[in-house]
Symmetry: C2
Subunit: 336 residues, 2 copies
């Protein structure tokens, strides 16, 4: 049977995670939880915004490895990707590491896709892997919209691409299980779907049905129905409302336990972020910092993390296509 | 230990494969082995080249499914990607299928990356998956180089992006093992590397060292050293020469058993294809047609397929970066 929950049958854990963000993200309500930030101009010492994004990935993985004292030779694979054309954030950013490289593309769901695949692989055929993803506001703006210098007006439903990267070390090695960690209990890969939205300034509306489809399928297939937190990647304010309504129509009132990384990372009215944060780096950095920290402190025991992605390109929209969306679910568990 | 050969411990097979190509590919020396071709204008009945590429992926998967009488509900996952920005060839092309979707990006190595991951997953946590990849000469030319109308002159080392798609159904289900199939014995994921090449008209030179690194590592790690065929994805004429020389320097004379999909797909002098074919669709279509057919006929027993990818973007080259390359190895075996 396809479209089923895939149980992680071995003890597989996130043994370390790290986050790197820009100055706007550091100014936000969970700013103090990120490991590294650029308090100046978000260039991370690089000549181009694209190189700055690669540098964030490089630094995030370096910190995650250091946190768990794992070196290159102890990692079987890197699973990584990002929003830049040809996924060059990861392709260039992780060149320094002498680790087999598996490139992913799931738009803003990339980190969830990576954790999902990493958990499946670590439960069976490999011991440890790294998962890395990122986005940078300045590289994304010029690729998807306009160069910053253009100073375009933003729509109320528009989201703000997060400058951030997250890196995770996933392991099933017995020796690693002594560390203070979070487990991956089960995962549910999402199906790509087109719900008729073609407004690039309203990607939350395009992604919300995919997120609802995945979560309702999870509930219907015997997944846990009372997690401490249901966390979507980057639906933003408008998408989150649609998502909650769709869950309600499916018979689930999730208002009490729901949040979205795009709503958590900025103080939206004060920082003028319209519908909230978005981008691969949004969920990658929020999960790697605040959420995992809260799990380790015992505040959350079961978290359903649903990475959301809008898989259009600027050209596909110019050609009149809709925005296909996807949502992958990862059930994280804190054992004690 | 990382960077090791990953043995496929269960009986995992490619139970069906299908290929869809354009008219130039059908004119070539292995043209009769492809399942479907557009003998007219390579538009596959679509309004844009990008939609034509998506259509090739859709059709290729449809034929592969039909060949083995598998429907959507019997496939646990699709692993797919391509060269277009935001991998929209796969993102849009596979929307019709109600199957969980995992997006990949490995440039022209994508089909090898997909078969590698598919084999690992089918050996452990899932039963069956589909792998799909493609490229289209006309969508690639305008994205990476110039619109066709510009009529630019090509360098002698330049390769010709193949218009083609390949789809594969991978299975570990016992019932499927009665079919006439090819097994996946082991795989070796590649490490991304930068060898200092920044000439987009000589991608064979950028990728050859990555292919040699993967194959030499495979030999050194106890992989089979006398396959019937060593098959690289798209090194082209110049890259293939460099690859053979690097293998020779490593102590292996592979001249007798080596070929490259980019050299097989066109009659290069007659079709004026300079250094040969390239693109995700090159190895995806050649392996799915001629090579698997030859394995089933008993001509080849052991094939080492090394998918090769150049992971730059037009912007990364404009910014003065080199071309990072990668090569993933899949050991295919015909049991009887």
């Amino acid at each position: 049977m396809s479209k089923r929950i895939l149980e992680i049958k071995k003890d597989v854990r996130i043994i370390a995670a790290a986050s790197v963000v820009g100055h706007e993200e550091h100014r936000g309500p969970i700013g103090k939880y990120f490991d590294v930030y650029d308090g100046d101009d978000d260039s991370f010492g690089q000549r181009t915004w694209e190189s700055a994004e690669s540098e964030m990935q490089r630094v995030a993985l370096s910190i995650a490895k250091r946190k768990c004292s794992i070196d290159d030779a102890e990692l079987d694979m890197l699973l990584a990707g990002d929003l830049l054309n040809q996924c060059t954030g990861a392709g260039y950013g992780l060149l320094d590491y002498d680790i087999p490289y598996i490139g992913l593309y799931g738009a803003c769901s990339t980190v969830a896709e990576g954790i999902l695949l990493g958990a499946l692989l670590c439960s069976s055929v490999i011991n440890r892997c790294g998962v890395v993803s990122s986005s940078h506001n300045c590289s994304a703006e010029r690729q998807y919209r306009f160069p910053l210098e253009y100073g375009g007006q933003r729509a109320p439903t528009a989201q703000w691409t997060v400058t951030g990267a997250g890196a995770y070390i996933i392991s099933s090695c017995e020796g690693d299980m002594l560390m203070d960690t979070v487990s991956i209990a089960d995962v549910l890969p999402g199906c790509a779907m087109d719900c008729g939205i073609n407004d690039v300034n309203n990607m939350g509306a395009a992604m919300a049905p995919a997120a609802a489809d995945t979560l309702l399928r999870y509930f219907a297939s015997g997944g846990i129905t009372s997690p401490d937190l249901i966390l979507t990647g980057d639906l933003g304010a408008h998408g989150a409302e649609i998502f909650k309504r769709l869950l309600g129509e499916g018979g689930y009132d999730i208002a009490e336990c729901y949040n979205d990384c795009g709503l958590m990372i900025y103080d939206i009215p004060i920082q003028d972020k319209h519908s909230g944060g978005s981008g691969c780096g949004c969920s990658a950095a929020v999960l790697a910092s605040f959420v995992l920290r809260r799990m380790l402190s015992g505040a959350y025991r079961d978290v359903l993390f649903i990475g959301t992605g809008a898989m259009m390109s600027p050209m596909s929209l110019q050609q009149g296509k809709n925005i296909p969306a996807i949502a992958h679910l990862v059930h994280l568990k804190r054992e004690n």
